[in-house]
Symmetry: C2
Subunit: 310 residues, 2 copies
C-alpha cells in the first residue's frame, strides 16, 4: 500500500499519475478537508472531489477542478436570491454536493460519504478524509481572518498572509483508517500540493504528524514549487506569509523531520544543497505533469525514490 497525503489539484494529478503506473487498489489517499465549507446549505468538499473526479477521468483538465464540460446555470440562478456566487459550482458537480449533504444529514460520516461518492465514480483507490471532524483552514490576513476558499477564490489570494490556523484541529480525530494507512504503508508520498494550505491541515490532526515521522516507510514529497513559483496559487503566498522562502528550500524547511526525500524540478537543481541542508535527500527530475506521459515518469521517479516496485 502506498499512502499519499494530498490536497486538490496537485494531489489529484499525482494520484492519477500513480494510478497509471501501478494498480489503483494499492493507493490510499489521505485528503485535506480543511477547505470544506457549507455553501447555500450544501456541504462542499473541494479537495476530495477533485481527487475523485481526477481518478475517474472526469475532472475538468483546464480548470483542474470540477467536472469536464460542466455548466454553471444553477450557480448564476442562486444569485437572484441575494446569495454570493463567487464560489462556482457546476450543474453536474452540484449533484455530488446534494448527494453528500443528504448522506451527512442522514447521519453518515464524511468518510462514509467519501467512500460512497468514490464508488459511484468507479474509483478503485481508497480515499480517506484526514478527519471526520470539522477542521477549518483559516488564513489570517491584513483583511482579517478568511476561510481558505474565501481567501483563495473570492479574494484571489491578494491579501498579505500573516498566519494560518487550522480551527478545530486540536479536538479532531484522524478518520478511521488514516493512522493505519500511514503506519502500515509501504511508502508515503506527499503530493505536490500547497504545503501550508493543503498538507498542513492533514498534519494538524492530532496523531498524523507523529504517525508520518515515526513511520518506517520511506517518505517522499514532490515539491509543488518550481523555479520559485507555485504551480497553483496560493502555495507561494502562504509559504512567504509564514516566513518560508518561496522555493524548494522553503518546502524542504517546512517538511524537515517529516520526510526523507524531496523531489525537485530540474529548474531547481542548484538548490539541491539547500534541500540537503534541511536533512532531506534531493532527487532532481522533471516534475511538471504536462500530460499523462510526464505524470507517469514523475510517478515512477517518486516510487523509485520510495523503493517501491510498481
Amino acid at each position: 500500500m502506498i499512502t499519499v497525503l494530498c490536497g486538490g489539484v496537485g494531489g489529484s494529478r499525482l494520484m492519477r499519475a500513480l494510478a497509471n503506473v501501478l494498480a489503483p487498489e494499492r493507493l490510499t489517499a489521505v485528503i485535506n478537508t480543511g477547505d470544506d465549507a457549507w455553501f447555500h446549505g450544501l456541504y462542499v468538499s473541494p479537495d476530495p472531489d477533485i481527487v475523485t473526479y481526477a481518478l475517474a477521468g472526469h475532472v475538468d483538465a483546464a480548470r483542474g477542478w470540477g467536472l469536464h464540460d460542466d455548466t454553471f446555470r444553477w450557480n448564476a440562478a442562486i444569485g437572484r436570491f441575494g446569495h454570493e456566487t463567487w464560489f462556482q459550482i457546476g450543474d453536474r458537480d452540484l449533484a455530488t454536493h446534494v448527494h453528500r449533504t443528504r448522506l451527512l444529514r442522514e447521519g453518515a460520516t464524511l468518510s462514509q460519504a467519501m467512500t460512497d461518492i468514490a464508488r459511484a465514480f468507479g474509483v478503485r483507490s481508497r480515499l480517506l478524509p484526514m478527519s471526520d471532524d470539522r477542521v477549518r483552514t483559516v488564513v489570517e490576513t491584513d483583511a482579517g481572518d478568511l476561510p481558505f476558499q474565501r481567501y483563495l477564490v473570492e479574494r484571489h489570494a491578494q491579501d498579505a498572509v500573516r498566519g494560518v490556523r487550522y480551527d478545530g484541529a486540536a479536538n479532531a480525530v484522524p478518520a478511521p483508517g488514516v493512522l493505519e494507512a500511514i503506519a502500515e504503508a509501504e511508502a508515503i508520498v506527499v503530493a505536490p500540493s500547497n504545503p501550508i494550505g493543503s498538507i498542513g491541515p492533514i498534519l494538524s490532526v492530532p496523531g498524523v504528524r507523529d504517525a508520518v515521522s515515526s513511520s518506517r516507510a520511506t517518505r517522499v514529497a514532490v515539491s509543488g514549487i518550481i523555479g520559485g513559483r507555485s504551480l497553483q496559487p496560493p502555495a507561494g503566498e502562504m509559504l512567504a506569509g509564514m516566513g518560508y522562502t518561496v522555493d524548494v528550500a522553503g518546502v524542504a524547511a517546512y517538511y524537515a523531520g517529516l520526510i526523507d526525500t524531496l523531489i525537485i524540478d530540474e529548474a531547481d537543481a542548484a538548490l539541491a544543497a539547500a534541500v540537503q541542508a534541511c536533512g532531506l535527500r534531493a532527487r532532481v527530475t522533471p516534475t511538471l505533469m504536462r500530460d499523462a506521459s510526464a505524470g507517469a515518469a514523475l510517478a515512477r521517479v517518486a516510487l523509485a525514490a520510495a523503493g517501491v516496485v510498481p
Copy 2:
C-alpha cells in the same frame, strides 16, 4: 382584494391572466402545498413555484412548469448515486429549491420562504401556502398508496384511483393570512385546477372550507374540465376515481355548497342545466387560455361573474 384558490398549471395561468387585467397587488393566491415533497434532501414545492414563475413571466410555457430554457444536467447527474431521476428538476429551477431548503432549515416557515422567493422573482401579488404545516396528498390506488407526485409524474396517473387522502390535514392550521384573505375578499375565484388533487387539499385544512362557504364575497370557479376531459392530468382520473362524472356536472357536484357560479366552456353549454341542478349558476364562455388575449377574456368574465370592477 381578489382571493384565488389555486394549484399549479391551471392556477398559474388564471393568476397570470388576472394579473393582466387588474393590478397584481389586488390578487392573493392561496396555493396548494399538498404536492410538496422532499427530493434528494431538498424541499420542492411544485404548485407555488409554478405560480411564482408564471407571474414572473419565467415559466416554461410548453411544459407549464419549471423555468423556460432550463436544462436538466444536475438531475441526470444525481442518477449516478443511485437516486431516482423521474422527478425532473431543472438546473436553474434547482436554485429555488436549494434556497428554500436553506431558509426552512434556518427556521423560516413555508409562508416566509414563499414570500421571499416571490419577491426575488419580482412578483407583486400576494402568494400564500394553504398551510405552513405539512399536508400530503396521497392517492390510494390499485398499486398502493402513492404520494401525489409519484402517482402523477412517476407513474403517469395510470393507476386506478380508489381514494384520495390529505395526510396531516386534520392537524394543520391555515397559513397566516389565509382565513383573512378569504373572509375579507371582494371575490373568491377557484382556479381551473384539479378539483380533488389541487383544490381539495386547500379545502382540507381545517377552517378553510368554512371560511369559503361562509364568505360574503361572490365565489366563482372556473372548470378545468372541458368537453369531458381535464386540461391537465390527472383531474379527470381523480374525479372518476372518487365517483364524480368527468364533466362540468362532476365539477359542479364537487363544488356544490361552496361556490356561487361555475364558469364552463362553450363546449359544455348543454350541461349548464346539470350545473344549475347542483345549486350553482352556470356561466358559459370560452375557457381555454390559448394565449394572453384568451386568458384576459376569461379573467374578465370571471371577474364580471364575481361582480368585480377591474
